[in-house]
Symmetry: C3
Subunit: 318 residues, 3 copies
């Protein structure tokens, strides 16, 4: 799509040099023919070095857009990004008679539905009712239990086990809000990458990244009914137990343990070997190697003291 | 079914005028040929004006039943209602060769199963593994990702997106309890109505109304693993994030925001433009336009003060 | 499998009497030709009377293994058990043309997939998209809504209702941890047994037992998005509402009530007729017949006092 056409379609003035836009990217990740944006000032450091063809920015940052990159200036750059995203969203289901490429020794049940250009390795088992979207890759010896849904472009490593009903690659919860209180969908153009030896329980929901990937690293184990929002990264050998919820863009180091029904806010980091007790609610970045509990989160020792203190106060009041 | 037969079947004495009963309704909503009930005294104000053919009531309210409506008097009216509901529950799956009526430009995957008398608009996409129950209506340009289940009589508006694995129209959690501690199912005879431009995440569960409809209004956006109980109403453009749970008959005004893992008790109202922070637990009706947090719920400012106070107390004790 | 071969395969020295091992069992439940283990010292009382052919134990308990039972001595008995479990895990999906045995008057939708040796009673309804695994038993008049997954060897009683998307029999979250921080799967060899008149809501996940069964007893009712971990037991006529999570091996007595989003730690007991208020977090065994709330859990009366106390403290500070 021509940049001038795109600008017109989303209602932004544009008078710079014409070029072809083939997708969207973050300031850091955008390729030479992609449109990027600056909304959260936290990312302004990435503006100077972006390779994007054009960047949506508010007027106050217009001058900081580097040479060679077009500035698309607007009071609501995130809303305009959402409008632009609709032009790059793939069709959810390509109609195609193309057969998946299936490796030796794989067992595919009869009523499994495949999108286009799927590649399945050797020794893979896919049970009835699964849906394997366009351009999905499933590596050797992985097992999908019944009624699993893999959205398009999901990548799954070797020896993974995905339990029944789990959904991988659904759209992240991304909306730009208008002044009238409506919500404009930011089409989710990323995907999900699951590395080797990952196990995911039943009826989980793992959202695709907005522009990049949501990543679950090698050897991580997720229990049932876990919610992983867009752009999260779960470190190697982490243990995520039942009904945990991770908000968007949160990164867990390796061997993080999260107890049942715990959760995190978005855009934070949890250091390696941190343990969050059951029901813990992580509200900001925390260092690794420690045990935490409570909401708002504190060190587990402090949480025990707090409970003891409350008990004493209650006794006194009697 | 004749009223005298129904009364006999559920073990209630009846000696009034005979009539035909064709369904159940609330005091307010019951039609001229329906049976209603009074259990929660909160609804006694609706008794005088009900149009129901008959009303199940306990002896103390028998005299308040208006003329022209038969009183079915029993010590356990709710239990008797549950017994009566079994006679009006539709068959879960009608066997029928009838083809759904599909609008122009719609893409229906091969292994989608349809109930009887389904109507699908134009430009609709239904992906593999979905089940579309009897008498469902899906309006133009709506997209159903794989393995979505729509129970019978679900109504979905235009341009909606329903992510994979989500269940719409399942039975609400409604039981009458016997003196022996058993639970008698109150068959859920309502449905779910989803208005235009609603998006619902993966693996959610939206229960049908008991007698009326559970309603999700225009432009509301739900994240993954959300639980919406029977008879809830979610206002226009509300934002319901991951793992939120709404108990039965709770009504949200427009543009309500509920943070991750928050929840509500049943039978309460949340005013428009209220924001509930993550993990907030709403225990009674609250006015709109404010920010709340904590469990039990309080204003967010107060919750911050409470946490600061607890921190100070902990420091003092050292 | 010969015991000497198994010992070699999992890297444990063995020099006792040879025998054939056909499965794994708990100390209490193991049959004469099964391998058992002692890891949690809590179970040492069961060692003397075990009938297991062999027991994996750490060196300090080696002498306590009774005569007639071989001791497989290792510093990491649980890790070795996990390695051994891989030899007894059934194939997830047997390829077979065998038709299920279906009772009179049952309605099975067209696109239901069956494993091998399934037995379905009379008057059963199975809706589209369900998967019924190998050797499953479904008794008379039970109703499965669409897209339900029953893993192999699940047993379901009479007049049960299972709502759409629910998964029964998925693997429990069981891993042995290596010194390098990796997790070795303990294959889950038990199953799920659901007694008569149980109703389970939409998109729940009920894990199979590790070696024995996860049991849901007669008349229990579960709401939507409930997580039941391996080896749990839910008592007769218990009420488990939306988004509740039960950790492994927890036992509920009869008529327990658990409010929305409540949860339990593992390996504890909840007495009959106990009520846990919404959001309550059960951290140790509790007696029946009382009402509890809060996290950590306390009696509901105390929780009300605690909230009142905190309110007073907040007012004072103003």
């Amino acid at each position: 799509m021509r940049l001038s056409e795109l600008a017109e379609a989303i209602g932004v003035d544009f008078s710079g040099e014409e070029c072809e836009i083939s997708g969207l990217g973050t300031l850091k990740g955008a390729k030479r023919n992609e449109l990027s944006f600056l909304d959260n000032p936290k990312y302004i450091k990435d503006l100077a070095t972006t390779e994007a063809a054009a960047v949506l920015v508010s007027p106050k940052y217009a001058d900081a857009v580097p040479e060679g990159t077009a500035a698309l200036v607007d009071e609501e750059p995130y809303l305009k990004l959402a409008l632009a995203s609709a032009f790059f969203a793939p069709v959810p289901m390509k109609r195609s008679g193309a057969k998946p490429l299936i490796g030796e020794g794989s067992e595919i049940a009869e009523n499994v539905a495949f999108g286009k250009d799927v590649v399945v390795g050797r020794g893979v088992t896919i049970m009835p009712g699964c849906y394997i979207g366009d351009e999905v890759r499933i590596d050797d010896d992985t097992l999908l239990y019944p009624n699993v849904t893999l959205y398009n472009r999901t990548i799954i490593g070797k020896r993974c086990i995905i339990h029944a009903g789990t959904v991988i690659g659904s759209d992240g919860y991304g909306f730009a809000h208008t002044k009238e209180g409506k919500h404009v969908k930011l089409h989710q153009l990323g995907n999900v990458v699951i590395e080797d030896d990952v196990e995911i329980g039943a009826n989980c929901a793992i959202d695709r990244g907005t522009l990049d990937a949501t990543v679950i690293k090698e050897g991580a184990k997720l229990d049932n009914l876990v919610h992983v929002a867009h752009n999260c990264e779960i470190g190697e050998h982490s243990l995520i137990t039942g009904q945990v919820g991770l908000s968007g863009s949160t990164k867990l180091g390796r061997n993080v343990v999260m107890g049942g029904q715990s959760g995190t806010a978005g855009h934070l980091e949890i250091g390696p070997f941190a343990t969050i007790a059951a029901r813990g609610g992580v509200t900001k970045s925390i260092e690794g190697g420690k045990v935490y509990a409570g909401f708002p989160l504190m060190e587990h020792k402090r949480w025990l003291k707090l409970n003891a203190l409350l008990s004493r106060l209650l006794e006194k009041k009697k």
